[in-house]
């Protein structure tokens, strides 16, 4: 099967997934106590005002009618109006999406930059002191909550040494790299710990494999052995893990974006939940679902490139 057919099939399979996501999120937001009309009108509004708002928002319609409207509008690309922002959900998300995507890619890139070399160093020095040091440091990184690491970095690197800005996200690409460094490295410290551990043991396993022993015995230069045989084979399980971590990173943006005052989708999601902004919560969840599905698809494609045994089907 060609990759294109495979991608097409995978995209088709996403339709039922999204349908399920929509049903779940539609029901979940409505199961939350409190309603958007009260959140919108404020505690001081009269009961009549609240009823009027509920009617205006279409919340008095039967659930099935509401769901049908949500479904048919979404299919047509209309996610409705945000109750909170009073503008189209799609515009609000379009505003915030690039920031969150940038932050996520940046974090992943930093994680790989940290985890990759160190995993090799640790694996090649297995059992000796560099291995012990690297593993201990990452163990600490793994056991500290992200928001705490974030605050510590902010306090020392931003507020005291003033090497980095505390908040904001910049306008140009360079500015963004600078502004989003602290939030990205905070997340990366955690993610890279997971990736490092996995990559290290994968490398060790591959190093012990017969084909690597054979390649070495053949007298291939060590760089070639590591690059062509070890890295490629060790990456297979790490790519899967990376794909899953990106899914986690997305939900992590709720915390990171709030601590670092980054106006992305995670922070928006929190605001939307507190305001019971049904259309916005639905739109954001759907966007996150699309992003995660896309990442999983890319993971599978990449994996099949690394390992021909994993044929696309």
């Amino acid at each position: 099967m060609s990759s294109l057919t495979y991608i097409f099939k995978r995209l088709l399979m996403m339709i039922p997934t999204f349908f399920l996501v929509m049903i779940i999120i539609f029901l979940l937001v409505r199961l939350l106590p409190g309603d958007p009309a009260i959140a919108m009108a404020g505690d001081r509004a009269s009961d009549a005002d609240i009823q009027a708002i509920r009617e205006r928002l279409g919340l008095t319609e039967p659930m099935l009618v509401q769901f049908w409207l949500f479904l048919s509008n979404t299919v047509q690309g209309d996610l409705g109006q945000s109750i909170l922002m009073r503008t189209d959900v799609i515009d609000v998300i379009a505003d915030r999406l690039p920031i969150t995507v940038f932050l996520t890619i940046y974090s992943v890139a930093l994680s790989l930059l940290i985890a990759g070399p160190l995993a090799f160093v640790a694996a090649l020095n297995r059992g000796r002191w560099p291995d012990a040091v690297i593993r201990t440091v990452f163990q600490i990184g793994l056991s500290m909550p992200v928001f705490y690491i974030g605050l510590v970095l902010l306090t020392f690197l931003a507020a005291q040494l003033r090497l980095f800005p505390v908040g904001g996200y910049g306008d140009t690409f360079g500015e963004r790299l600078y502004h989003l460094f602290l939030p990205s490295i905070t997340v990366a410290l955690y993610t890279s710990a997971i990736i490092m551990r996995n990559l290290r043991s994968a490398v060790i396993e591959v190093l012990d494999a017969e084909y690597v022993q054979f390649a070495r015995a053949k007298g291939l230069p060590s760089r070639l052995v590591l690059g062509r045989h070890v890295l490629r084979n060790a990456l297979i399980s790490t790519v899967t893990l990376l794909g899953l971590s990106i899914g986690n990173l997305m939900s992590g943006t709720l915390v990171t974006e709030t601590v670092f005052a980054v106006p992305g989708m995670g922070r928006l999601m929190l605001e939307a939940i507190f305001a019971r902004d049904y259309p916005l919560i639905q739109g954001l969840t759907l966007t996150f679902a699309i992003l995660v599905s896309f990442v999983f698809l890319m993971t599978d494609l990449f994996q099949s490139r690394l390992d021909p045994r994993m044929r696309l089907q």
Binding site: P36, G42, A45, A159, V166, G167
Partner: protein, 530 residues
């Protein structure tokens, strides 16, 4: 007369010079201000959340202005005002030469348009505050407001954000079908033409940042004889996380950070680069008590007995709570219905001074037995609420109360308050209006809000409230409010807790910034030295 004033000012300035060489006002610069939450729509009549309401005054001016002590009004856009003998007509003269920020002239038509808009119940959630107005008319600069009945609050209302003047021409020119659409379009366009406040909106990123630019046509004069404001502009960054907001100030990225948690106040007070301000406010923190005979699930409600509610109030050590939650930066409520800074607030302090013996006696009178379970509903994630609960649980244990916690979010708490599905829950209030009628209506008047959801009802209280609404004699009105406070203290439909100031940390470059007791952020006379 004029000569004399100028002379007086010169003499005063000369005398002050040796002592205060920095008296000459620093002009220019942009003040960077870190906010806890962003504005969504700053329009006098649609502003319904504090982050919107508190910014209206920077962009829009009102006919009258509240005086510094908050107890009366002085001329604003109107240079003079008077109320007729029968209390049914307010006459005002609009100042000559007032310009909107884009340079167009303000006329009586703009005033009529703005006030008609503000009192239209189909548009504004605040229209009820202007219910006494019959007609508004203008003849040149002469404005006449005819009232259906005398209204003691009308002058205060003309100094309140919702009666600020907008440009009729700007609204007529804006795209959109309804007034609300037009308002949104004008706000999104960041136009200078709609308001005549000291600033106009010149930048806005939803949920991220906002910019105010100085209105060069502003009419009020600064201490240097030039028009206000001193600043070129204000830049707002929204930083919801408390710790990050403070770090941003400490890193010098912003010049001010609002809503400083009280646990951080003393640390920031000790920082030589930070000017920690605690502005007096009308904010009260209290807990409504469900006074209905039965709970929502039908079981008998021990809190229906006023003696039990009184006992809980006596059994609460307010000073200890203030120490725990506010780290000392607050004071116990002294009036049961309003903060000290509110007009007509009676000082009944100590209001239910901590007295465990009295509390126990009241509990045994009421016949409430050991192990009575009461649910305390708090905001999930609020450190303050968690502390309050833990303290009350211990304080009330000797009264035989088994206090259990129920944590909900803001929307749920609001819904529970409405439906009466609670025993006691945390709440807070800040006045929006420079008059006690709003807070008293909210807390005690049954028809307004079921006495803040407690279900408490007193015919005498309701009658007094309705009478006070039409009482033009200030002393007689004050007496009615005094009696309402007495009745309310006795009935104790609330756990009366404390008042808190507004805690704002300023960088040492900032002078002249003020947050009023109503919460309004005032940048009119703020300066920043770079």
């Amino acid at each position: 007369m004029k000569m004399k004033t100028v002379l007086g000012a010169t003499v005063a300035a000369t005398l002050a010079l040796p002592a205060l060489p920095a008296l000459a006002q620093e002009r220019g610069g942009t003040l960077n201000f870190a906010r806890y939450d962003g504005s969504r729509l700053i329009d006098p009549i649609y502003a319904d959340r504090n982050p919107d309401i508190w910014m209206v005054g920077s962009l829009f001016d009102t006919l009258l202005r509240g005086t510094a002590d908050g107890n009366s009004v002085e001329p604003g856009l109107a240079e003079s005002f008077s109320v007729s003998e029968d209390g049914k007509t307010v006459s005002m003269t609009l100042r000559e030469g007032i310009l909107f920020a884009d340079g167009s002239a303000m006329s009586g038509d703009d005033v009529v348009f703005s006030l008609d808009r503000a009192r239209n119940p189909d548009l504004s959630p605040w229209a009820g505050l202007l219910g006494s107005i019959d007609t508004v008319s203008a003849d040149g600069t002469a404005i006449t407001i005819a009232l259906k009945s005398p209204d003691p609050t009308i002058l205060s209302m003309l100094a309140t954000f919702n009666t600020a003047i907008v440009s009729k021409a700007a609204f007529e020119a804006a795209a959109g079908e309804t007034d609300q659409d037009k308002s949104a379009v004008i706000f999104a366009a960041k136009t200078a033409g709609v308001g005549s406040g000291p600033f106009y909106l010149c930048g806005f990123e939803q949920g991220s940042s906002m910019d105010f630019c100085a209105n060069e046509n502003y009419w009020r004069m600064g201490a240097d004889g030039e028009p206000l404001p001193y600043l070129d502009g204000v830049h707002f960054e929204i930083i919801p996380d408390d710790a990050t907001r403070i770090l941003s100030l400490q890193a010098g990225e912003v010049d001010a950070a609002e809503f400083i948690p009280f646990s951080r106040v003393s640390e920031l007070e000790a920082d030589p680069n930070i000017d920690m301000q605690l502005y007096p406010s009308t904010r009260i923190i209290y807990s409504p008590i469900n006074t209905r005979e039965a709970r929502a699930d039908g079981s008998p409600n021990p809190l229906a007995d006023a003696r039990v509610r009184q006992a809980l109030n006596y059994g609460t050590n307010k000073e200890a709570l203030i120490g725990l939650v506010l780290h000392g930066a607050g004071q116990p409520m002294s009036s049961p219905l309003m903060a000290k800074a509110t007009q007509y607030a009676d000082d009944l302090s100590p209001l239910y001074a901590y007295d465990m013996a009295k509390a126990k006696a009241l509990m045994s009178d009421a016949g409430v037995g050991e192990g009575t379970q009461i649910t305390f509903t708090t905001l999930a994630g609020s450190a303050d609420d968690a502390t309050i609960f833990a303290a009350l649980q211990q304080m009330w244990a000797p009264l035989g109360i088994d206090l259990v916690v129920e944590q909900v979010d803001g929307a749920t708490r609001g819904a529970k308050n409405r439906s009466g599905e609670f025993d006691i829950h945390t709440y807070g209030w800040v006045n929006d209006v420079n008059d006690p009628s709003q807070v008293v209506g909210w807390l005690g008047h049954t028809p307004t809000a079921k006495a803040v959801g407690t279900g408490w009802e007193s015919a005498e209280f309701n009658t007094l409230f309705d009478e006070a609404a039409g009482e033009m004699d200030a002393d007689a009105r004050k007496a009615k409010f005094a009696r309402m406070q007495e009745l309310y203290a006795e009935a104790a439909p609330l756990l009366f807790m404390y008042e808190t100031p507004f805690a704002v940390a300023l960088g040492s470059a900032v002078e002249g910034y003020v947050q009023t007791p109503l919460g309004n952020n005032i940048f009119d006379e703020a300066t920043v030295s770079r």
